[in-house]
Symmetry: C2
Subunit: 279 residues, 2 copies
C-alpha cells in the first residue's frame, strides 16, 4: 500500500471532536496516528460541540478539507446521540471512539445507556475542585524546600538534586490527582554524611527520589546558569551519584527523569508509592 | 433489561489497561461509564503494560474478578500487538479502544500501521519538557501578581478577584499546554475607577477574566478566612459585579468558573483567545 497522496507530502487533516474538552479524543487519536510514523498530519481540536447547530458547522468544516486525493480523519468522543448523528454525516472518515463501544458495554451490563451527553458535573466536582486547589497551593508553598511546615500532612515528598524535575512533577500530581506533594532539594552539603537531611530524616517512608543523567542535568542547569560550576558535568555527575547512594541506603524508591514525560513520572510514582487518585 | 446483578448492588469491576500512563483509557472509559448513572463500579488503572509477561499477570487479575453474575469490563489502549493478543484472552469483556479503530485508519490512509508500541519518545520530548518546565516556573513567578516583570512575555494574563480560580487554571495551562500564564488579582481598590489597573492597562489584549457566583466565592473565601468581611456574600457580590463591568468596558473576554472544571476553563480560554498548544 502507498500513502493517500503518493505524489506529494500533502498532510492528512485530522480533527479531534468532543462534547467536552477533547482531551481523550486527542490523546487516543494521537496514539493511533503514532502507528503511521512516515506520514504528515495537520491537527485541529474542536471541543465543546454541544448543539446540533454547532455540529453542522463542524461537519461543514471537515467536509471542506476533503480533496480528490485526501480524506480527513475525524476522531470523536461526542456522546450525545443527536449530535453524533449529525457528525456521522461527514464525507470524511468518522472514527467514533465513543459510540462504537457503547453497545458492547450495554450488552455486558444488561442496562441501556442514557445516550445523552454525560452528566459529569455535580456537587462532586466542587469537592474535586477544592481538593485540587488545595493540593496546588500546598505544592507551591512547599516547593523547593520553601516551607518545611506541614510536611507531616504531605502525601508524598519528592527528593532530588536541583533541576531533576521536582517542581513540574509535584504540580502535575497536585493538579491531576489532588495529592499534596512537598519537594525537598538535595544540595551538595547534604552529601557530607550518608544521612538523610534532618527535615526529612523521619519521613523516608513518604519520600520518592528523582535522578537524571549527568548530560541531561548539565544541559538543564546550563540554561539557568551558563558556565557555572553548578552546571558542569563533573558536579552533576557527583550529585547524582551521591543522591542515588542516599536513596539506596534509606530504601527510598527512585526513577530517572531524563527520558520520561511528567505524565509518565507521575504514573510511575503513584504506582510505586501506592498513592490513591484523589481528584 | 436489568443490571448485571439485579439481586444486589454488587459493583462491576472496571479495569483501565494501557502501555503508557493510561490517561486516555481512563478518561474515555469513564465517559462510557457515565452513560450508566445508576450502576456501581470499582475502578483499577493498570498502566505501563509493556511485556507479555506483565500482560499475562494482568489477565489473571481480571479473570479473578469474574463471578457467575458479574463480568468485569476492561478498557484498553494497549497498542503493541503481542501484548494485546494476550489481554484479549481474558474471559471478561475486553474493550479495545485502540485496535478496533486501527483498521479504519489504515484503510483511509492506505498505509499499514507499524503495529508496535508507539515510539512517542524522542528528542521532541526533551523540548516539550523544557517548555512545560519554563511555563510552570513562569506561572509560579507571576502568581497572584507576585511579579510584574516580564508580563510582556506572557501568552496570557488571567485577571480576577481573589479565589476565582486563577492559580489552578494558570498551572494547568502551563503544564498541559506549555503556555506562559501570568495572573493578576483584582483587589477592591482596583474598582475605585473604571480603569484597568496600571500594570495591565496596556495589555488588555492578553487578558482573560474569571468570574464566579457570589455564593461559591463566599464559600471558598470562607474556608480561607472564616467570618471575615472578605468572605461575606455582600463583598463577593460587589467585587464580582465590578469585575464583570470592568471586563465588559475593556472588551476582556471572561468565563464563570463556579461550575467548570479546570480542564474546561483551560479549553474555553484557549479556544476563545486562540492560543496555540505549545506542549
Amino acid at each position: 500500500m502507498g500513502p493517500q497522496d503518493a505524489a506529494s507530502d500533502t498532510p492528512t487533516p485530522v480533527f479531534f471532536l468532543a462534547g467536552g474538552t477533547g482531551i481523550s479524543a486527542e490523546t487516543l487519536g494521537n496514539l493511533l496516528l503514532a502507528q503511521f510514523p512516515g506520514l504528515n498530519f495537520t491537527r485541529r481540536k474542536i471541543p465543546f460541540i454541544t448543539s446540533v447547530e454547532k455540529a453542522a458547522e463542524v461537519m461543514a468544516e471537515i467536509d471542506a478539507a476533503m480533496t480528490d486525493s485526501v480524506t480527513p480523519l475525524a476522531f470523536s468522543t461526542v456522546s450525545d446521540d443527536p449530535i453524533r448523528q449529525v457528525l456521522q454525516g461527514t464525507q470524511a472518515a468518522f472514527i467514533d471512539l465513543f459510540g462504537s463501544h457503547l453497545d458492547t458495554v450495554e450488552r455486558i451490563l444488561h442496562v441501556n445507556a442514557t445516550h445523552s451527553a454525560a452528566a459529569l458535573h455535580g456537587v462532586g466536582d466542587t469537592l474535586r475542585y477544592d481538593r485540587r486547589m488545595k493540593a496546588i497551593e500546598f505544592a507551591m508553598e512547599h516547593d523547593d524546600g520553601a516551607s518545611l511546615r506541614n510536611l507531616a500532612q504531605s502525601d508524598l515528598i519528592l527528593v532530588a538534586p536541583s533541576r531533576c524535575g521536582k517542581t513540574p512533577t509535584s504540580m502535575y500530581l497536585a493538579l491531576q490527582h489532588g495529592l499534596k506533594v512537598a519537594n525537598y532539594p538535595l544540595v551538595p552539603e547534604d552529601f557530607d554524611t550518608g544521612d538523610l537531611p534532618r527535615p526529612i530524616a523521619q519521613r523516608a517512608d513518604k519520600c520518592f527520589g528523582l535522578l537524571s543523567t549527568p548530560a541531561r542535568l548539565s544541559q538543564v542547569r546550563g540554561e539557568r546558569r551558563p558556565g557555572s560550576t553548578y552546571a558542569t558535568l563533573a558536579q552533576c555527575s557527583f550529585e547524582l551519584r551521591r543522591a542515588e547512594a542516599m536513596y539506596r541506603a534509606h530504601r527510598i524508591p527512585s526513577i530517572n527523569s531524563a527520558k520520561m514525560s511528567v505524565e509518565e513520572m507521575a504514573a510511575v510514582i503513584m504506582q510505586s508509592s501506592r498513592l490513591p487518585d484523589l481528584a
